[in-house]
Amino acid sequence: MAFEDLLEDPVIQKYLHELVGPKGMPVAAAPPDGEVTDEELAEELDLELNDVRRALFILYENDLAEYRRLRDEDSGWLTYLWTFHYENIPENLEEEMHRLLAALEDREEYERNHEFYLCEVCSIRFEFGEAMDFGFECPECGSPLESMDNDRLVTAMDDRLAALREELNVESGA
């Protein structure tokens, strides 16, 4: 098997699981050295061919695998020979860290600039304007809406934002 060191990282395991789902995980978790056909993988891992193919194409879409096609001269059948490219995982995750950073920046600003009210029964949160429109009563259950402090959320987001910026060498306040 190739890329053992990458696959030891629990975040990378989780990432692959997120991409291919539980049925594709046996394929994603055991990339062979060199080339392999979908049929060989299905046989080796005792999986449905369709599940193997689905996982391989998801990896392909994420630049983590590529294939070349061979035509059998006698039967005319096409064989797909797959190569795993997990060396691209770090760059993909770096990109995800940038996407997360951008989303956190937007969301942090929103959290900081709004006041919120909470229905403690339904656990639904309303912006101040919405809460006022409902007369500070929950539209679902009629309970009174209570002012909600989101300092803890903002602090947690600020901490993670700082850590991401530091790790990615990004200036703040973009």
């Binding site: 891992l45 770090p90 937007d106 993670r160």
Partner: protein, 149 residues
């Protein structure tokens, strides 16, 4: 999370149905990855210090690199050369203080990927085309961040 990696004791190339001749080419990249892990253990003292410097600074111009390291510019350049060859750092051309130099930075491999996690939840944007900062999944991620870490 532990993922169960299926055993691979059978020879996959001998699988029934493999009806054609195949050259067993190991992918070049797989080799490089393996080499770079081994390479780190075989660095000279200076190379090791250089790699640490690049990682600590998160990226440094080559003209500052050798000064910080306390070696000659020629030696600094050889160290960077060697680290680039081993795939342990990235290097790109840049202009700095009016002269041509290189910017030497850590590779993506060194990043702390756990910053994508909140509790045991991965960033909800993975596998999604669009980033929706107001999605329920992201709200859940932020709740995890605030209350489970």
């Amino acid at each position: 999370m532990q993922v169960c990696v299926p055993g691979r004791d059978g020879d996959i190339y001998a699988a029934p149905g493999a009806s054609f001749q195949r050259i067993h080419v190991r992918t070049f990249v797989a080799e490089v990855v393996r080499v770079s892990v081994a390479a780190e253990e075989e660095l000279t003292e200076d190379e090791h210090a250089g790699l640490e410097l690049v990682r600590e600074t998160g990226g440094i111009h080559q003209s500052d690199f050798w000064k910080e390291l306390g070696v000659s510019s020629r030696k600094g350049s050889r160290i960077v050369e060697s680290l680039v060859e081993k795939g342990l750092v990235d290097r790109e051309d840049t202009i700095y203080n009016g002269h041509n130099t290189y910017y030497v930075s850590p590779t993506a491999r060194d990043l702390e990927f756990s910053l994508l996690m909140a509790g045991d939840m991965l960033s909800p944007f993975i596998g999604e085309e669009e980033v929706d900062g107001n999605s329920d999944a992201f709200s859940q991620w932020i709740m995890n961040l605030a209350y489970e870490e």
